[in-house]
Amino acid sequence: MFKNRALTRTLIPLAAFAFVLSACSSPGATSAPSAASAAPSQAAPSDGASAAPSNGGGAGAEDPALIAAAQAEGTLTTIALPHDWCNYGETIETFKSKYQLDINELDPNAGSGDEIEAIKANKDNPGPQAPDVIDVGLSFGPSAKEEGLLAPYKVATWDTIPDDAKDSEGYWWGDYYGVLSFEVNTAVVANVPQDWADLLKPEYKGQVALAGDPRTSNQAIQSVYAAALANGGSLDDPQPGLDFFKELNEAGNLLPGIATAATVAAGETPITIRWTYNALSNRDTTAASGGPAIEVVVPSSGRFAGVYVQGISAFAPHPNAAKLWQEFLYSDEGQNIWLKGYCHPIRYENLVETNAVPAEQLAKLPDVEGAVFPSLDQLNAASELITENWDAEVGLNIQ
């Protein structure tokens, strides 16, 4: 009993002391001093005060000044990068070992909304919670730029990025694309569907699923958009996509619920609609575990390509590491790592022209001939239509 009083008497002041100590410790005490990069105070966006020029072509992934500046910062904070999405796992490991930098990975499963919110919430924060770079859906690029959340930067290979996939002022730029495909568990589905119309067949009753919620997930919304293309619609007219899914649901072929690699392998959602790169990556991991054989089918009509975009946070605590990361991603090496993950990197045409892609990699890529890309306006309009009308029209509302 006497011990307890004494213990309490010492613990409480100790705890208070620790609290005050950590609060008063200077910010940035744990990260390497950024004097070398002459980084401004936390609140100001990163600008051209760093070693690398930020207008016109960037410094490139081998520029020693940029590398030194990044190494002075010591670490990069990323967000929403699952390791099996476009082979980001290899990208991260290669970046770390090549430049001797640490990468602090925040939530890999974050959605684009979370990434934007993370930038906003961490405006004054120099700590590891503030993301330096983001990878978001196409619509979020312009909106983040409007809200002043992005810092402009043009990588060395800027000119080889197609114009309609980047912001002219350099605030955001496309990174990779894929096409919506069917991931089919051939152990459960003997007769593999080849096109959107096939999905309506009665033999696929209770077998078709989406990889997300069409009201919130890019992948799912664009699945509906893609179905429109095959169902008599166009990039300006996504309504047939809703009609298609309504028909699919009424036929009893559409399953509610989110399909994951596990549910496909278990046969619960044997036909799942996903990006080619995710489907192919799932195929490989399932095969490596000795699971059922998965076939990835790019539908013969209705090939829809979706782009994601990169950006640097205007409040990045490590602006030079962020720039180096972008330079690395857009170097031939970085683009090829994405390609290994079955993603079509944004500089794909340029890479093929300059023979920068190993032949066996090229052979593994799915055939996406004829895929169409929506413009930003078309995408926004379609997303609005689909998210607002999904409940009412497809009527999957269960009781």
Partner: protein, 292 residues
């Protein structure tokens, strides 16, 4: 042995001992147990175990090595590191939460019953605030001067513990409140005061020991929350914690997540059993009013 406060019809003390035990003989206490109780227990056990069996069957579908998923998990040093970190954070959370909740629940019961709905409302608030909103709010509050906690590891850990304590409030408060309802708080307090105890001693020597079951329940619930939580740990960049480790594992592995959930289920269960045995320590409820 006096027991006037517990007899229903106010019989003289000692009368109960004189009554022959014939009335209770037909249902002996310590032997095989009530068949209805067995039925309920078995039904419950089936309901709990069958889904776990389903998960297990899925996790061993790997070929040729049916335990491939388990090997991958157990070979990963980050698995145990993450579990250890989260366990430590969990223990700290439990201690802080107990130190706040027990005196609060006690005080509410004893002195300010009018504020009870207010306190209960506050303890239920963690259910309605989405964790994403909470963590970004915490970052906003504690990343600007004067209190920049997010910049340091210790500071971020403190925010993490603070957030987890908040998440534990509903469960801890309810467990402690139920326990307090079962003991006669007023009489215990009066008796202790009449023997000269101050508030701290009453809480520590009288109330805490009588709340063993509640405290264990609260501890279990809190530990489970801390080990399983990942949104807050992720956005606070506590990448050493178990939750973030799980989310890095990838949503799109076919068999490993099933193995991971079973292994972490098992290990957490073992941790709870360890806590239960620790809590078994000094037996004996202190009862001032009422016979044992």
């Amino acid at each position: 042995m006096t027991a006037p406060s517990t007899s229903i019809d106010g019989r003289a003390p000692g009368a109960l001992e004189a009554v022959p035990r014939a009335a209770t003989a037909r249902r002996p206490r310590r032997s095989f147990g009530n068949p209805i109780a067995w039925l309920i227990f078995i039904l419950g056990a089936l309901y709990f175990i069958v889904p776990l069996v389903g998960t297990f069957f899925h996790s061993i579908r790997t070929r040729p090595d049916i335990f491939l998923a388990y090997r991958q998990v157990l070979d990963d040093p980050k698995f145990f590191g993450g579990l250890a970190y989260s366990f430590t954070v969990g223990v700290i959370t439990i201690v802080v939460s107990l130190l706040i909740i027990v005196p609060t629940a006690y005080w509410v019961r004893l002195r300010v019953p009018r504020l009870r709905p207010v306190v209960e409302f506050v303890t239920l608030m963690p259910f309605v605030i989405p964790p994403v909103v909470l963590v970004f709010g915490l970052i906003r509050v504690y990343s600007s001067r004067p209190l920049v906690l997010t910049a340091t590891d210790l500071g971020s850990d403190m925010i993490l513990v603070g957030a987890y304590v908040i998440l534990s409030f509903p469960y801890m408060y309810r467990a402690v409140d139920t326990g307090l309802a079962a003991i006669d708080v007023r009489s215990l307090t009066e008796a202790a005061q009449s023997l000269g105890s101050g508030w701290a001693r009453i809480l520590w020597r009288v109330i805490f020991p009588n709340l063993r079951t509640s405290l264990l329940s609260g501890a279990f619930l809190t530990l489970a929350i801390v080990i399983g939580e990942y949104t807050i740990a992720n956005f606070l960049a506590r990448t050493d914690a178990f939750g973030p480790y799980l989310s890095l594992l990838g949503r799109n592995q076919p068999y490993t997540p099933a193995a991971v959930s079973l292994i972490s289920f098992g290990l957490t269960w073992l941790a709870m059993i360890a806590i239960a045995f620790l809590g078994r320590g000094a037996r004996g409820r202190v009862q001032v009013a009422g016979a044992r």
